[in-house]
């Protein structure tokens, strides 16, 4: 399959008012299609525009709505989400070693990090045995409900 060809079709579609292009040849069919007035064009129009207007509404947005919580591109990985709103800490105390590093083997129930909320330190445990392949959040940054914290490659 010629990915370049499909990409150029998508680009063509995006540059015009067309909503669909379909090509069928040599027993192969490619169809690209976009919805107008639907989900795609509406992902976050108000924010988009506001962001272009720093003079009018200086949007700093400490916490951007994170809508990409799903793990579609890496379906084999397990994702540990934040169960609460709070501040993410990788270590027990400042300066201490992080609970886990990328590459570490972890057990189900093992503490991965702390999310502090209202002065309470909430220990977040792994719900899988496996290998830590990614830490999704910077140390000491804010996390919202459902935000991915770690990606774990489950043990076979």
């Amino acid at each position: 399959m010629d990915l370049k060809e499909i990409k150029s079709l998508i680009q063509l579609l995006e540059e015009t008012d067309l909503t669909e292009i379909e090509i069928e040849e040599h027993g192969r069919r490619i169809r690209v299609r976009k919805e107008q007035g639907q989900t795609v064009s509406l992902s976050a129009p108000l924010h988009t525009e506001a962001a272009a207007l720093p003079a009018v509404s200086p949007v700093s947005q400490a916490l951007q709505p994170q809508q990409e919580f799903s793990n579609e591109t890496e379906p084999h990985l397990a994702v540990i989400h934040s169960p609460i709103v709070g501040t993410f800490y990788r270590a027990h105390t400042q300066g201490a070693e992080p609970y886990v590093q990328v590459g570490d083997l972890v057990k189900k129930g093992q503490i991965l990090c702390i999310v502090e909320a209202m002065k309470l330190m909430n220990e977040i445990e792994s719900d899988h045995d496996g290998t830590v392949v990614a830490v999704c959040v910077e140390d000491k940054s804010s996390v919202e409900f459902g935000q991915p914290l770690f990606k774990i490659e489950p043990a076979q």
Partner: protein, 454 residues
């Protein structure tokens, strides 16, 4: 003034509060559930934080996550809107304990008013008329007769543990009382094993009249021209108007005085609403410790932005106007547009892909609709409020009819057709409706020929 406010709500009221904040140059933090990631209030706010899953108990009522959100974003105050945590004394208390201003009355006032028995007692002590009845449970037939004679027939016998119409009997005259007392007792016993009953004045065609108040921390309080919210079904208001077609200037002042008395008796601060039942006389029902859905009709006739006032009061600013500066100009009316079957009131969910909102002079629509919007079954079915303002009631009805005629929502069933019919109904046009209106209106509708669809 606050620099940043967190809005602990969703839908049109969250949008309404964000607009007020913008005008006051206050930055806003929206909270949202996973079901609301694309919602208008999230897009409009300067910052937004997901606080939980679709279930409101785990998101919009999730006190720890909401307070954490305020802490993380540095929001100095929380506006609760209506519903959710708006009248939760515990929430108000926790807010204050962690140093976040709760935009509303004190936790004590919320708790007092949330306890219907205590609220009633407080108002009675303050000299505000309450619905006449027995002082608690009546012991026997002799006391029942005595109470009924004192308050006058018709009276209502209510089983203490009854509900949903069970254990309730209306007594028209003394001869009926003995028999109906027995029936109510036995029904109470059957349904919930408790034959205790109490007696209350029964109102045949009561009206629901309410008075908006604002009170600042310095003890200054004002009342606004009354709202008539008698058009209800199952205690859900459908149409509200201000002023009431029933209330004259004298009654308006009396209602206002009673409302201010309620404010004093409860040491109430911020915006609140004192609800009365009216039939010849007015009687206190309850006081709502929050901004109400129908606040725009009061804004229309008074020209005062109640949500901005709420914020200013919470920030410690005193009221800038006096009672005699509060006008009652023209007539305003609100229709609540719900996502529901207009006949049976069953909620309707789905995706609104196409809609058209009315506009023009004197027309206001408060909504969180944005295309496409998914109406989920998780929250309040109200999708929009249509508010009109005109020189008088007749012109307000004409304007409402006009606005309803161009209001269009595709993808779900709404109460729009019902509102269109109400605006054509002679009883409504005459202004001679009671809280029984919708029930009898629908009963009459069902007997009309089928070529007049709802």
């Amino acid at each position: 003034m606050f620099k940043k406010i967190l809005i602990a709500n969703r839908g049109e009221i969250a949008v309404r509060i964000i607009r007020a904040c913008r005008e006051l140059s206050i930055r806003t933090v929206a909270i949202y559930s996973e079901a609301d990631a694309q919602a208008l209030h999230v897009r409009m706010a300067d910052e937004s934080i997901c606080v939980g899953p679709a279930d409101a108990n785990l998101s919009y009522r999730n006190i720890p996550n909401i307070l954490s959100s305020a802490e993380l974003t540095g929001a100095e105050a929380i506006h609760p809107g209506y519903g959710f945590l708006a009248e939760d004394g515990h929430f108000a208390e926790v807010c204050e304990s962690v140093g976040v201003r709760f935009i509303g009355p004190s936790a004590e006032a919320i708790r007092l008013l949330g306890n219907k028995v205590k609220a009633r007692e407080t108002m009675k002590k303050a000299g505000i008329p309450i619905i006449p009845g027995s002082d608690g449970v009546v012991s026997g037939e002799a006391e029942a007769i005595e109470v009924a004679n004192r308050i006058g027939y018709p009276v209502m016998i209510k089983a203490v543990s009854g509900g949903g119409g069970r254990g309730i009997r209306v007594v028209q005259k003394e001869e009926e009382l003995s028999q109906l007392l027995k029936t109510a007792r036995s029904e109470g016993r059957t349904v919930c094993g408790d034959e205790s009953v109490y007696i209350e004045k029964y109102f045949v065609e009561p009206r629901h009249i309410e008075v908006q108040v604002l009170a600042d921390e310095k003890g200054k309080a004002v009342f606004f021209p009354e709202r008539d919210c008698s058009i209800q079904r199952r205690h859900q208001k459908l149409v509200e108007e201000s002023p009431s077609p029933l209330v004259d200037e004298k009654l308006r002042r009396e209602l206002g005085r009673a409302a201010l008395e309620a404010v004093r008796a409860t040491h109430y601060v911020n915006a609140g609403t004192v609800e009365f039942l009216f039939e010849k006389e007015f009687y206190f029902i309850e006081m709502n410790a929050r901004i109400q859905v129908e606040h725009p009709v009061t804004e229309a006739v008074s020209g005062i932005d109640l949500v901005k006032e709420q914020i200013k009061i919470a920030a410690g600013q005193g009221l800038e106007f006096k009672q005699n500066q509060i006008k009652c100009q023209g007539h305003s009316m609100e229709c609540r547009i719900n996502a529901e079957c207009p006949e049976k009131f069953t909620p309707s969910s789905g995706t609104i892909s196409v809609f058209h909102l009315p506009g023009g002079p004197g027309v206001r629509v408060d909504t969180a609709l944005v295309s496409p919007t998914k109406i989920t079954p998780y929250y309040d079915p109200m999708v929009a409020k249509l508010i009109v303002h005109a020189e008088n009631r007749e012109l307000a009805i004409a304007k409402m009819k006009m606005a309803l005629s161009e209001f269009f929502i595709e993808g779900i069933k709404t109460s729009l057709p019902l509102h269109r019919r109400i605006m054509e109904d002679q009883t409504f046009i005459n202004g001679r409706y009671s809280t029984n209106y919708i029930e009898s209106f629908l009963a009459a509708s069902l007997s009309t020929p089928p070529d007049l669809p709802l």
